[in-house]
């Protein structure tokens, strides 16, 4: 677990809406950094990042984020599995799944998972995240 609580708080385009607190779970360090930076610029505070299911549960339990963005592929672990675990239990959070793969490819698995939705990594956007959360 990595503490990212300071990232994004000084973003230049601070939204008028209340800042969202977010945890990102991905096994790719380059994406984690770029995504945290990007979301920070758009008024979403990345309060923690994790690369494995165990790290993610720990991080979510501590940070109580408004949303957890979870990559479908976590190395040998599955993002769907994490979404299940975050749906109830001690560390729970709304989950948005993400991937470099298209939504169409994983549509069935996304549909049956408790995640609130999916956003492709290339289309990652604060508005999209807010829309999915609002649609719950």
């Amino acid at each position: 677990m990595h503490d990212r609580s300071t990232i994004g708080q000084t973003g230049s385009m601070q939204s008028k809406v209340e800042a969202l607190r977010c945890v990102i779970v991905d096994d790719n360090r380059g994406f984690l950094d770029a995504a945290a930076d990007f979301l920070g610029h758009h008024g979403i505070t990345v309060v923690g990042i994790a690369s494995t299911i165990a790290e993610a549960l720990n991080c979510v339990g501590q940070k109580r984020p408004d949303v957890t963005i979870v990559d479908i592929n976590l190395g040998d672990e599955s993002g769907f599995e994490l979404a299940e675990q975050l749906a109830g239990g001690p560390a729970s959070s709304p989950v948005i799944l993400t991937s470099t793969h298209s939504e169409q490819e994983f549509a069935d698995m996304i549909a049956i998972s408790p995640a609130v939705g999916f956003v492709a990594k290339v289309n990652l956007s604060p508005d999209g995240i807010r829309r999915l959360l609002a649609s719950r």
């Binding site: 230049s12 380059g30 995504a35 990007f38 769907f80 169409q104 490819e105 069935d108 290339v122």
Partner: protein
Amino acid sequence: MRPQVDRGGHAISGTRRLAPPWRYHFSQLLTRPTPPLWLGIMVAAALIVAETFVVQFLGRVGPRMTFGAVYLFGVLVISFGWGIGLAVTTTLVSAAVYLEVHLAADGGLLPDNLQNLIAIAIFVPIALLANVLGARARLRAAEARRAARQVSELARGQAALRRVATLVARGVSPTEIFTAVADEVANALEVGNATLFRYIGTDLGEIVAAYDDDPPKMPVGARLSLEGDNIAAMVQHTGATARMDSHERAAGSTAALIRDLGFRSGVGAPIVVDGRLWGAAIVGFSRLEPPPPDTEERLADFAELVATAVANAEARGELVASRARIVAAGDEVRRRIERDLHDGAQQRLVALGLRIRSIQASLPAGSDVDSQIADVADGLAAASEELRQISHGIHPAVLSQGGLRPALRALRRRAVMPVELHVDVERRLPESVEVATYYVVAEALTNAAKHARASQVTVTVQADDNRLHLEVEDDGVGGADPGGGSGLIGLKDRVEALGGRIFISSGASAGTTLAAEIPCAAL
């Protein structure tokens, strides 16, 4: 199911049945083995007495000395029916009786006149000649009998070998061949027990097939120790044929078992597969006399066929396994390339896209590089998408992540016509089976849209513990050619490499049904 073997029915008896009855009986008379001597003596005595009465009777119509030929009848019968000793005796007794009863009646005991002398001088040489001819005929008949038996045995042996060779050539399972060989060996060599034995270690073997006269004595699958004196051990030590004319004082538990089962002697021949001693063919005899000297040679012929069958089956097994390994290795490579693309270049492009959009966000509004940066961001997004498509074509990630059901549903979503999909697969299957199934369905859907112009397709996939069955049925124009360039041939190779089969039925206008069956037992 043991193949039914025709016991005892063979070529020679077949032709005999075709001959007219009289000829059959006559040839029986000539070729049958010699009846007992006492019967010969009685027959000879009876004939001589009868002939004496006949000559007595004929004596009324003419001089008895002219009827000596009557005695030749008995001489001939004995000459052809019994040995030369009895025949000559019959000749001499006949001559004596002829002389004593008839000629003496005309004169004295000795041929006291020239006529009697001539009669005897004619009768005795002719009768002796008949004796010699009879003996030669009997010898020939015996030889013919022996030759016929040999030909019959040879023919039966060859027919049995041919039947086994046909099974070997047809590539039926070794288990079936083992059973057939045990039956054929028992039949051809006329033994009560024929066993095929496979060596497991230096001192252990397993019965892989056995023929037994009732009751069964050698259970298939039983393991026997090779310690002590026994044929299996001898074959294993020498690598050559072996025989034991008696198990009387043979040491070891297996020898004791063989004695208990009532076998006295046995012969074994090695089964050598690709230069290595695989097992032995062994026959057991319960009769007193030792096995015939040609038993080793005849058994070895069968052992050679067994070796060929085993070698074939092993080669075929290796071929199937190596094809499956090649396909699995190919799948694994594709999966790894997809994974590497995903974890490497794709993630990097996505991260670059996010970075450029961060930069874009931090630029003051109305900056003159804004549109250029937007172009770069769009270009990165397009590159990302292209790479995603390439990577999906290499290996569908959803298949490794979620298995067949979500992967096939993704295919259905991509299809241009309505697809009814039934997936009844309760577990994850071996990767190559999932990949093969995915590609077969994908190709069938592509063909249904492109070639068959179908408006509706039904896909059914179900798997039990051992096999996966899949069927793709469309309502298109049909006419699919499995040998054509429709991509079906590649699918056929892929499915067959996994030990499966693929069937395509495509009428002129009745749509196309593609069915496949793939073994999917957990690895």
